[in-house]
Amino acid sequence: MDLFLHLCIMSLIYIIFALSLNLEVGYTGLFNFGHVAFFGIGAYTSALLTLHHFPFEISLLMALFLSGVSGFLLSLPSLRLRGDFFGIATLGFGEIIRMAFQNEVWLTKGPMGLPGIPKPKLLSIRFATLPQYLLLTLGFATLTFLILRGIIRSPFGRVLKGIREDEIAAEALGKNVYRFRIKSFVVGSIFAGLAGVLWGHYTTFISPNDFTIIETVLVLLIVVLGGKGTEWGPILGAILLIFFQESLRFLRLPPEYSRYLAPLQQMIFGSLLILMMRFRPEGLIKERREHGCLS
């Protein structure tokens, strides 16, 4: 039972993480390869503040704020670049942030990581047990889904899709492509930060090794597998991949084989991505033709 609850919580956290990336990759056409940076900034900010006895509400808000601000600062120069170059810039940013976690020992304790992150207490309710934490993540995931869906279904979201389809035509029709992209990127970063906060307080221990490019690949795979540019695709993708990934961990293998598990998992993920790209590039859920009207 506990295992099931654990899988549900992890899935919900990755649903938030994947939905935030879907706004950028699926709807705006921004291939962000450094999305894990904002996950990490959220996790570290909230962890550090609560470890210094700030209330969770303030830590959470600061974490979202800092994720958004760093997203904004990164987007200013990098969104001047085109497609592939933008991807490379974000890739670099992801690594820079990880190196910062690793080397700013005075703040982050470096490779030692931050142990003992307290369970959150929101509006004087403590979310300590697994069912309680599940409720908390479910609440935040629902909120994230509703807010992002509201954005996607609005005229603003329509412009994002237009930019994804043909940025020159969008610009010619009077849309400030650069500004729209920045906004999309900042919103995506904020929600990635939220996922990071929830993850940090859940595992109670974070270290720089948790925020490698592998995490970005995983969340990108979730979005692509589930169906980018769809409302439900990332949710389906997150559930499938997290259940698969976490259940591998509990596979009872003889000890001499268990060290092959992690590389094996990455090989499976890699092949999965290739197979998807080849046979079903639109993902498990196909992009629906949506009406432009507000729901």
Binding site: V159, A169, A172, H291, G292
Partner: protein, 249 residues
Amino acid sequence: MLELRGISKAFGGIRAVSNFSATVEKNKITGLIGPNGSGKTTLFNLITGFIQLDRGEIFFRRERIDGFPPHEIAHRGMIRTFQLSRLFPKMTVLENLLLAPQRQKGERLWILFLQRQKIRFEEKRNVEKALSLLEGVGLSSLKDELAENLSYGQQRLLEMIRLLMADPEMILLDEPTAGINPLMIRKIMDLILKMRELGKTFFIIEHNMDVIIECCDWVFVLDHGEKISEGTPPKIQNDPRVIEAYLGA
């Protein structure tokens, strides 16, 4: 309406447009013709801010607009089309139209969740306008079809009514009738003439002389980036310099 003063642009050693001056009068249809590679599209790119000028000045409604980014120029009421149709392929016909209106409230992220009523109202009005425009050109049955599934002629027609949705003062068309059948050409020409009656100003690149003769009030002729002639269509047709440029005699 639009005034170009001595504008020049070179790409490396090639002088794409050199010292071009022209005035496009309000509520007129002005043509721009010239052999392939004579700099017509470059000129459009310069006017609409997609390429920056080397020298010269551009005034639109008495305001200097050279150096502005394309979306700023669109906001000021000048919108262009491209040589090949540029729709949003994976969006529906209706969505393509709804993207066009300028300065929509619902396109501002910060008020999305605060002014839902106003945005919904604006959206409803835009949908109604889009549907009636589709009705007018006989495309209403395709409103939920993806734009990429339309025939090329239908795509060009959709592009024209997208301009009507955007409702600019001045419209720059880059070969609006290239590669489509005579029936569709007729439809597009009728739309242009009707929009002129509604007070719009046109600047059109066109190779089809029938279109030029029927629609245009004034024509500029470009060759190797320089203006070699201007005048009314009949005058242009008999200008020996124009004939020489085209036939290379």
